[in-house]
């Protein structure tokens, strides 16, 4: 079957199978930041935006994305680099495998709630698993980034 959708604001037409998952389709389309970390919709690594909302691309049919706007980390270069530097600064990550899903969902949080409390940060990011760290470095990185955004006067 044929679908037509927007990937990082580029219109794409493609043929898919009825059970192609969005994650596999996006990888075929060259979005290699989108990765799979589990089989149970639990880890958050495959997070992409569908019509601006963060969703698990491993659990959505590509067929359902027909007519919708998808954004991956490839489409958020500037935001990702700015924020990513703060995470790297804390040496938060070890293997880094969890990074793309974490970046996507953190950016979703900044957009939805530019001034979150620590508990709000924990709650928003609780669906992003990291198996190397204890999340403390990520927390410090997020808070340092938010402080920088506040100082800049703008919002995250």
């Amino acid at each position: 079957m044929q679908i037509e959708l927007w990937i990082n604001e580029k219109k794409v037409r493609a043929a898919i199978e009825p059970d192609t998952l969005l994650i596999d389709f996006l990888r075929e389309q060259g979005c290699s930041s989108v990765k799979r970390g589990c089989e149970t919709s639990n880890c958050g690594l495959c997070t992409v935006f569908m019509d601006e909302k963060p969703v698990l691309s491993c659990s959505v049919l590509a067929a359902r994305a027909d007519g919708h706007h998808i954004v991956t980390l490839e489409g958020l270069k500037e935001e990702a680099e700015g924020f990513g530097a703060y995470i790297a600064d804390q040496g938060a990550e070890q293997c880094g495998f969890c990074n793309p899903g974490f970046m996507m969902n953190a950016i979703a949080m900044f957009r939805e709630n530019p001034d979150p409390t620590d508990d709000e940060i924990r709650e928003y990011l609780s669906g992003n698993l990291c198996r190397c760290s204890g999340y403390e470095g990520q927390m410090r990185g997020i808070k340092a980034y938010l402080a920088f955004c506040r100082q800049k006067g703008g919002q995250a």
Binding site: P18, S59, G127
Partner: protein, 270 residues
């Protein structure tokens, strides 16, 4: 992983219902549960084009479409004001935001899962389900009905004023609950719904009038015992039946005391 041979975005409920009469068909909600089942689906029926992704409000009730996501339930101002935030509390521990942006109310209720936070909350909210073929039935009744090939269209939540408290016990954040408990008081009527027993949620009412003189520390303790005696619990990986029974008593008491506190707050605010 499921295999799908044919995908149809339904154009009407009538079409969806007709297609769903075949045993090899399946309605696709958020697909999170379905995806983990090993099965072959000849026709996957997607309800996402039918405008069922909205929470509508009438003077009497909230009408929640089957394709409304758990995240919409979590963030809906009116529904949370009506339920003292129990709506949000019942779903916020479910996996993560990205998951709740996909998981649907329809899939969560139709499945009548033995671990369900969602079923527990809506039953305590005195919800009814609107089925395409079966019409409108109370959720309490629906929870015990055999699984057939009908389509859940909406959940209807009456706007009866009252107080609600939702509690769940989890071994670890974002895991399935070991037990869920949601108490509600509307007028003088109190009910307590216990879920994740691990069996579908059940509702216990104050048949003996334990709370007739109002909720107090002693009556809350007594009602906790009363609910424990009436709710069957079972054992699975997350906890034993015995442990769950203790939780039934404790969480019921705490939920009632939570309601007492809210009554006090509401009085002071008046």
């Amino acid at each position: 992983m499921i295999e799908i041979q044919n995908y149809v975005r339904a154009e009407s409920l009538a079409q969806a219902y007709e297609l769903n009469q075949k045993k090899s068909s399946a309605i696709i909600g958020g697909m999170l549960w379905l995806k983990m089942e090993k099965k072959r689906v000849a026709t996957a029926i997607d309800l996402s084009g039918l405008g069922l992704d909205m929470i509508e409000e009438t003077p009497e009730e909230y009408r929640i479409g089957a394709m409304v996501t758990l995240r919409q339930i979590e963030t809906h101002t009116g529904l949370n004001a009506l339920t003292d935030g129990a709506a949000r509390e019942s779903v916020r521990h479910i996996v993560g935001v990205q998951f709740r942006n996909l998981a649907t109310v329809g899939g969560s209720i139709f499945g009548r899962y033995g671990f369900s936070d969602v079923l527990t909350f809506f039953m305590a909210a005195d919800a009814r389900v609107e089925l395409y073929h079966g019409g409108i039935v109370s959720l309490e009744e629906f929870a015990g009905m055999p699984h057939d090939r009908d389509i859940l269209v909406r959940i209807l939540v009456p706007k009866t004023k009252g107080h609600m408290v939702y509690l769940s016990q989890r071994n670890t954040q974002t895991d399935f609950p070991v037990l869920t408990c949601c108490a509600a008081k509307r007028g003088e009527a109190v009910c307590c719904v216990i879920g994740a027993r691990p069996m579908p949620a059940v509702c216990v009412r104050d048949g003996d009038g334990i709370l007739a003189g109002g909720i107090r520390e002693e009556s809350a303790v007594a009602f906790g015992r009363y609910v424990r005696e009436r709710v069957t619990t079972g054992t699975n990986l997350r906890g034993s039946g015995e442990y769950r029974s203790i939780l039934v008593e404790v969480l019921t008491k705490r939920a009632l005391l939570g309601i007492l506190e809210r009554e006090g707050e509401a009085e002071r605010a008046d």
